[in-house]
Symmetry: C2
Subunit: 232 residues, 2 copies
DNA sequence: CGGTGTTGGCTAATAGCACTAGCTTTGAGC
DNA sequence: GCTCAAAGCTAGTGCTATTAGCCAACACCG
């Protein structure tokens, strides 16, 4: 029996491709093995488990989407960069729904988890976009979380059954980008968070929770789960 | 052997509760049967399959979240209503993560699918919130889609592993609501969509694609999938 | 009060799933 | 050319959802 010449990279790449084709939930070890022309147990020579495989697919996807967004925003600023980032992310999710689905609901095991590193890296382009707006430093964390929610929401809808959208989805998407752009440009720059009427005023921001340390460093909660800044 | 007195409602309610406790992916027919003090095959007297069970849980969740948002926005308008809706949705997802997870990635089978009806009903409160802003009628569809993306993104992050968020998540959440509020209030009212610089101008809006008909009626694509307005 | 029929529970069995143990064979390095 | 780790394999385990078929419980009806 000749060797198939597999390694972890080949297995993960094939799995990601297969997930894009048949949908992430339909990705089974048996189907993947068949795709690779190998028997199921052989896969366990390259990945530890199905969960391990899923995490590796997620890391691949996070790296790829970060690259795509980074490339798309290169040399742009403001609404231009925001739109380019959003479009790049959406394009990625539409063309690679399976591997993007692998990134939903991940929990990192710790600071050295490749998932953590990939997720942190994936936020870089977003904070770069934010630098094109007059968002006070104390609010960059909030803005980053907001961007993540918005784009993740849009991307998730596309990745999980939203593909039969009506024809003018591009227009709605640009409208959403404009909405965020308007909101970001109208951000009060006096350092106060506006509108949070139900909140205790002195809880409104914590200087230690700035986005810079989060993006650059490793911000993992004691339980080992990713903090929100590191979640995909 | 005495009867357990089950019916579909009891089974689905128990399943939703169990999903909230142990997480939606961990919900198995065996565990549900054990919870109900019954053997696994007995469940199939009340639900057709696991997929059927998942859909019923999703419908339950959609109904409940629609009720919660509707109640929270009663008598409010503008940012007040927006914040109340967002908070109600977030509270629901935090307290019922399992059943909300059942609503992610659903595809309806047709106009009479209970999932379709529940999803359409769930959008009512959001369009009510929108009526408190000066959004031109041609843009309400875009605005509705935007709101859905934002809140679904936030909710999804919470439902799928985002629960160990840092302590000031409430503050970030209010900041997000303010961001959307600012963006909505700054919506140009001249009927033109601003900013969609990469789009063909005459594709910028279609009067026939208004949100009103969608929210009130049944807008299902020919393939049977829900249109975006009806997706959870 | 005595059937009668539906219905809700059961046991047993099947196919597919992830995964492990243990064997064989390949192929690279000395 | 030999050695040995690594990469494939077969066989088997225990889980999953699901079906078939049986039997008892209960509501209704004469």
């Amino acid at each position: 029996m000749p060797r198939a010449g597999l390694d972890a990279g080949v297995v993960v790449a094939a799995a990601a491709e297969l997930a894009d084709e048949i949908g992430f939930p339909e990705l089974t070890m048996a189907r993947l093995a068949e795709r690779l022309g190998v028997r199921t147990p052989s896969l366990y020579k390259h990945v530890a488990s199905q969960e391990d495989l899923h995490r590796r697919i997620a890391v691949l996807a996070l790296d790829e989407v970060a690259d795509a967004i980074g490339a798309a925003t290169q040399g742009r600023a403001g609404r231009d960069a925001l739109g380019a980032a959003a479009r790049a992310m959406r394009d990625f999710v539409v063309t690679h729904p399976g591997r993007y689905a692998a990134t939903i609901g991940l929990t990192a095991t710790g600071p050295d988890d490749p998932v953590t590193i990939a997720a942190v890296r994936g936020l870089g382009p977003f904070s770069a976009v934010l630098r094109g707006y007059d968002v006070p430093p104390q609010q960059t964390t909030h803005a980053l979380r907001a961007l993540r929610s918005v784009f993740h929401g849009f991307a998730t809808l596309q990745a999980t059954g939203g593909f039969q959208w009506a024809t003018d989805v591009d227009e709605s998407f640009e409208w959403l980008v404009d909405l965020i752009d308007r909101g970001l440009r109208a951000t009060p720059t006096d350092g106060r968070v506006v509108g949070g009427e139900g909140l205790d005023p002195d809880r409104r921001h914590d200087p230690d929770d700035g986005a810079i340390t989060v993006v650059g460093g490793r911000d993992v909660s004691p339980t080992g789960r990713l903090s929100e800044e590191s979640q995909p």
